[in-house]
């Protein structure tokens, strides 16, 4: 079985978000980049398939050379090979088209994307890719079981869980629950050494249609200071919420 895990290179969750160039560019200065957390849950699930069913796990990212350390990390975690599509990823639609070109060349049975990235939070690449390829698609996926070509998956919905059946080939949107945080694989020395020998192919981009551009960033307004209410005077809080904030 061939599994593709799509990886996004994102700022660490504790990063301070700043912008440069008149707020036109994200300031990467001092920012550590990590595997997008939702993608990492997906990668771990893929590695389980490799261990159990000898699946071949390929990781792919669409981006410039600065994304390669993250791909090496995925290889150290256990992926068999890595692909970087050399393209400045700015728009979800265009990224999905780049991935589609790879998927048409190779044949993947299972494609795992993160539910969304924590930088642009578009949440669109997996679904777009599925539709472009005509594959099934299940997002917010918290479990997947494969039996031959049959797929049984669970997905988190508002206020509950839905159980779905489908078949390969399929694209899923991964999130926590697909594996637990404690299941995430921390690369060991052996993994890191092996990763250096594993293939990391760089593919040229294909023509794609850019359907959006990010022009300007803005930080939320600085918050006024908190209004403290004495624990002995809870009526005041109720009055503030009712009369001032008008939320109750």
């Amino acid at each position: 079985m061939n599994v593709l895990v799509c990886i996004s290179n994102v700022p660490d969750t504790t990063s301070k978000i700043n912008f440069i160039d008149n707020d036109k560019l994200f300031d990467t200065n001092g920012v550590q980049f990590i595997i997008n957390p939702n993608d990492e849950f997906g990668l771990t699930r893929a590695i389980w398939l490799q261990q159990k069913d000898q699946a071949i796990v390929t990781v792919v990212t669409v981006g410039d050379i600065s994304c390669e350390p993250i791909l090496r990390k995925c290889l150290a975690i256990g992926a068999n090979k890595a692909v970087r599509i050399d393209y400045n990823a700015l728009d979800g639609f265009a990224v999905a088209e780049q991935l589609k070109s790879l998927c048409e060349k190779e044949s993947y049975d299972l494609i795992i994307c993160g539910r969304e990235s924590i930088d642009y939070n578009g949440g669109m690449v997996g679904g777009m890719l599925a539709q472009m390829l005509g594959f099934s698609y299940i997002t917010n996926c918290i479990s997947i079981d494969l039996n031959g070509n049959e797929v049984e998956a669970k997905r988190e919905i508002d206020g509950g869980i839905e159980t779905l059946s489908s078949s390969l080939p399929i694209v899923i949107g991964a999130q926590k629950g697909l594996v637990e945080e404690s299941d995430l694989i921390i690369p060991n020395m052996r993994g890191i050494m092996q990763a250096r020998q594993k293939p990391l192919d760089v593919l040229a981009s294909v023509n794609s249609s850019v359907k959006s551009s990010v022009d300007q960033f803005e930080k939320p307004p600085v918050k006024g200071s908190v209004k403290l209410v004495d624990p002995e005077n809870i009526d005041e809080l109720i009055s503030l919420l009712h009369n001032e904030a008008k939320v109750i």
Partner: protein, 319 residues
Amino acid sequence: MAILVYAESQNGKFKKSSYEAVSYGRALADESNQNLVVISINSEEPKVLANYGPDKVLSIKDASLINFTAQNFANAISEYAKKEEASILVLSSTADSKYFVPLLAVKLDAGLASNVVSSPISISPLVVKRSCFTNKAFNNTTLKGSTNIICVLSNSFGVHEKQSQPEIIEVNTSAYNDNKVKVKSVDKVIGTVSIADADIVVSGGRGLKGPENWHLIEGLASTLGAATACSKPVSDMGWRPHTEHVGQTGKPVASNLYIAIGISGAIQHLAGINASKVKVVINNDSEAPFFKVADYGIIGDAFDVVPKLTEKLKAFKSQ
């Protein structure tokens, strides 16, 4: 050309976020001089939409769309978007919409912006402001498709009433039978408010010491008609189900009121709940980072403050 809004319903009733999406569509239609067409699917009350200003309502009744599946909903909405020659589609940012909207965007070859927080900055070119970096920032996005789709973040634009006399057209079809993905069963906690739909969310952290104390959170939540949520360690330790975990790696929250009890306010927690309008913190540590982002705060012991607050709110509500 038209502005097309999909008004999502559940068990035949519209979600509040649908009225927000229709309000957004109305503003957009006025600014761009287009008609506002609203689609509902298996709604029992399409007439209610007339409170929010549509020019036309397409009320689709279709047995094949009673259960939500992303592919069939994308197929149905794209069909009507093409028929109505929609230039811009507006959806709310509910879990279902987020699921099918990427499929819809490909079918319509459309530009897509999710988590949009305000009316367009410009119509031509179409520029919208959206939240990014999990609510740590905003960006202006220019949509360049010949058709474009906007998903409005809950509680960002607001519901604006505007009476109209739309033509209501009932469409009976049974045409959508893609079954690549089939729903086998749904396991839903009945009778509670879901985090995504809630106006108010009451959330508990490690400061509550253990699952046996959650009646404090639940009592306050039920008094307010609120959804319950929790911080990540609370769900990691199994005190609460994963579906309640909010934050950067959990569910996003964009409620009108978010009450954090015994939650320190770590950056990853705050990122996920920051889109909420009004934040209240109850924590016994005055140094807890949550106080820096909250609108109102009580420095005090949750075990003392929360029962009192619940009692007082009960009295307030029964006035």
